[in-house]
C-alpha cells in the first residue's frame, strides 16, 4: 500500500508540472438511444494549491469529466479516450487496483447532495475512518480517532459523540462538513468538489465555502470546483473554465472571465443572472433554446443554434461548418475575432448587466 506522502506518488519530475493535466479527453456512453458524447475533446491543467472552477449547464460534461478522473465511470458502457495525468501519472489506462489506491487518498471528491452521498447504514465516524484505515493501514481505533479529529476540524461540535451518529441525524450543513472531513481525511493532493453547496441553504453555503478555503490553506490541495452558480465560483476559484455541450468554450482567470468574458455563451450566462441593484422592471434574459442533444450534437460550433452573433462572423455559415478551437491559456472557442468579442461585450452586453 502506498503511503500518503506526496513525494512517493510523483515519479515524474515532481512538483514541476501541473498537478492534474487533462489532454483531449473524450468520454462517450452507450445508451439505448445511441452514443452520447458527454465529453468531447477537453483539455485543462490544474496547479497545486490552486482552485479551478468549472461552470456550465447540466449536461455540459462537468461532472462526467471529474468522475472519469477518478475512474468512477461504468467501464461497460463508457469509452474514454485522451489523457488524464495526475502528477504525471496516466490514469485512463491505470489498473483498477492502482486507481483504488489513489481514490480517497491522493484524489478525493465531495458530492453535491450529502444526504444521498453518505450511506444511511453506517455511522458518520465509520464512514470517515474507512478510507483512512484502507489507505494508511491504521488500526480501527486510530482511524476512529482520526475521524473524530477530522470532524472537529470541519467544525462539528462535540465530534466524539457525533461520530457515532448516522447521517440522517445530522443537519444538511453538518452532513456536508462530514463529507468534507471524509474527503480530506487522507490529505489528498487533489480535491474535486462537485457542486458541494447546491443542496444547501444560502447561509450554510457560505460557511462551507469558507471552510473549504481554510482547509485548502492548511492542506495545500488543488481543488476542482464544479458549479453552475457563478456567484459561488467568483468567491472560490482562481481560474474558471466554462463548459458547453461536452467541451470547454472559455478559459481564464476568474477575474478575466467574469469581468471580460469573450464567449457568447458566457455572456448568456451572465445575462441570465438576477441582480440586487438592477431595476425591478428590468427583465432577465435567459439564453434562448435548450441545451443540445449530445446524442446528435450540432455541427460546427455546438452553441450556434442558440447564438445570436453568428452572422457577425466572417464567412457565411462558418459557425455551422467549422468547430472553433480553444487556444491554450486565456482563450475562448468562438469564431468572432478578439476585437469583435471585446467590443460586443463592452457595447452590447455590459450595459445590460448594469
Amino acid at each position: 500500500m502506498t503511503t500518503l506522502t506526496k513525494e512517493a506518488g510523483a515519479p515524474t519530475p515532481a512538483g514541476t508540472g501541473p498537478l492534474l493535466s487533462v489532454r483531449d479527453l473524450h468520454v462517450s456512453f452507450k445508451t439505448e438511444d445511441g452514443v452520447v458524447r458527454a465529453v468531447d475533446g477537453l483539455s485543462f491543467d490544474l496547479e497545486r494549491g490552486r482552485t479551478l472552477g468549472i461552470v456550465g449547464e447540466s449536461g455540459s460534461g462537468k461532472s462526467v469529466t471529474n468522475l472519469t478522473v477518478l475512474g468512477l465511470h461504468n467501464p461497460m458502457f463508457t469509452t474514454v479516450e485522451g489523457e488524464i495525468l495526475l502528477d504525471g501519472r496516466e490514469l485512463t489506462t491505470a489498473r483498477e487496483s492502482e486507481l483504488e489506491r489513489l481514490r480517497g487518498n491522493k484524489v478525493a471528491m465531495i458530492f453535491q447532495d450529502p444526504l444521498t452521498a453518505l450511506s444511511p447504514y453506517y455511522t458518520v465516524g465509520r464512514q470517515i475512518a474507512e478510507p483512512y484505515m484502507k489507505h494508511t493501514g491504521a488500526s480501527k481505533k486510530q482511524a476512529w480517532e482520526r475521524a473524530v479529529e477530522m470532524l472537529g476540524k470541519v467544525g462539528i461540535p462535540n465530534p466524539k459523540e457525533r461520530a457515532k451518529d448516522y447521517p440522517h441525524q445530522f443537519s444538511g450543513g453538518m452532513r456536508q462538513r462530514a463529507m468534507i472531513a471524509m474527503a480530506l481525511v487522507c490529505d489528498p493532493d487533489l480535491l474535486i468538489a462537485d457542486e458541494p453547496t447546491t443542496a444547501l441553504d444560502v447561509t450554510v453555503q457560505a460557511q462551507i465555502l469558507d471552510l473549504l478555503k481554510d482547509l485548502q490553506q492548511e492542506f495545500g490541495s488543488g481543488i476542482i470546483f464544479i458549479t453552475h452558480d457563478l456567484g459561488v465560483i467568483a468567491d472560490m476559484a482562481d481560474d474558471i473554465m466554462v463548459m458547453y455541450a461536452g467541451g470547454a468554450v472559455e478559459r481564464g482567470s476568474t477575474d478575466e472571465v467574469l469581468r471580460a468574458p469573450r464567449h457568447p455563451y458566457t455572456w448568456g450566462l451572465l445575462n441570465s443572472m438576477p441582480r440586487l441593484d438592477s431595476d425591478l422592471g428590468a427583465p432577465l434574459s435567459p439564453i434562448p433554446g435548450a441545451p443540445p442533444s449530445l446524442l446528435n450534437p450540432p455541427s460546427g460550433c455546438r452553441f450556434h443554434p442558440r447564438c445570436g452573433f453568428q452572422e457577425r462572423v466572417e464567412g457565411t455559415g462558418r459557425c455551422v461548418r467549422e468547430r472553433p478551437l480553444l487556444a491554450p491559456d486565456r482563450a475562448s472557442a468562438c469564431h468572432l475575432t478578439e476585437e469583435q468579442k471585446r467590443t460586443i461585450f463592452i457595447e452590447e452586453i455590459k450595459p445590460r448587466l448594469g
Binding site: 439505448e32 467568483a234 441593484d277 446524442l295
Partner: protein, 344 residues
Amino acid sequence: MTSPIDIEGGGTSVVVDGEPGPEAKSEAVKLEGRSPGQLMWLRFKRDRTGVISAYVVGFFFLIALLAPLIAKLYGKNPYTVYADERPELFDSAGVPVHPNGGISSEFWFGLEPGNGYDVFTKLIYGIRTSLMISVAVTIAVVITGILLGVAAGYLGGRTDYFLGRVIDFLLAFPAQLFFIASMPVVVSLFVSPRDETPTYVRVVALIIVQWFLGWMGLGRILRGTALALREREFIEAARVSGASSWRIIRKEILPNVVTPLLVQATYLLPGFVTAEAGLSFLGVGIVEPTPDWGQMFSKASTELVMQNDITYMFFPGVSMIIFVVAFNLLGDSVRDAFDPKTAR
C-alpha cells in the same frame, strides 16, 4: 452577504439550469419535440426482445381469438369423445394406446387420456378461455385500482386512511385459501344449486374472486402516484383556478398515471393467467368438458397421465411457459420504454 460577486457586486448567486441532475441520464431531454408516448414507442421499437415478445404475446391472443376458425379448418372440436368414437385408439382406462400420447397426422397434439379429447383443439380453446378470464380480471382490477387508488391519493384524509386500512385488511387474507373457499359461494350467488351452472357463471365467479383480492397492489401504486401529483404545481394551479376535483382527476391526474398503469397491467395479466390456472388445477375453477388451460394441468397431474404417457403434460406446460416468459419480457420492455433509468 453570500457569494459577493466581485464583477457586478451585490448580485445573488443564480442557478443556471432549473433542475440539477446527473448529466449522464438526460437522454430524454435530447429527443426533444416528441411526446412521451412517441418517445416510449420509439424506445420500445428499438428493443428487439420486447418486439419479439410482443409478437409472441400477440400470437397467443390471435390464437385465442381465432380458436373456432382454426378448429374448423382443422376439422375437429374439443368436445368430441374420441375414446368412444374411436375405441381402438384407447385402452379401457382411456389411455391412448399409440405412443407419445397418440400423436399422429390426424391428431397433431395427440389425445387426452380419459375421454380422449383432441389435444390441439382443446389447447387453443383452453387458451381462449384462460385469456378471456384474465383479460377481464385485469380490466376490472385496473378500473378499481384507478378509482380507489386515485381517490385515496387525491382526496387524502379520511378517504385515504379508510382505503389504506381496507387494503391492509385484504392483504392479510390468505389469498389462495380465500379463492377456493369463496368460489362455490360466488357461483351460488348466480344460480340456485338446483340448476345447471352454465360455464359463464364459473367464468364470472373466477373473475370476481380474483378481482376482489387483485386490485390492492395497483391501488397502492396509483395512490402513491396521485399523492405525489397532488402536490405538483399544475394541480395546485388547476385547483386554485377553481376546477372541480373530478375535473382535476380526469384532466390532470389520469393522463399522468397512464404510465405506471400500463406497466403494472402488463405485469398483472400473466399473474392472473397463472392464478386462474391454479384454481382450475385445484378443481374449483373451470371444469371438464370446458377447455381451459388450468383444467388441462389438472388432467395432466392425474395418475393416468403420470403413470402412463407424460406427453400430454407438455402441451399446456410448454405453451404456458412461453406465454408467461414472453409476457414478462414484454412487461420489462414496456417498463424500460417508459422509464429508461431503471436498472435491469
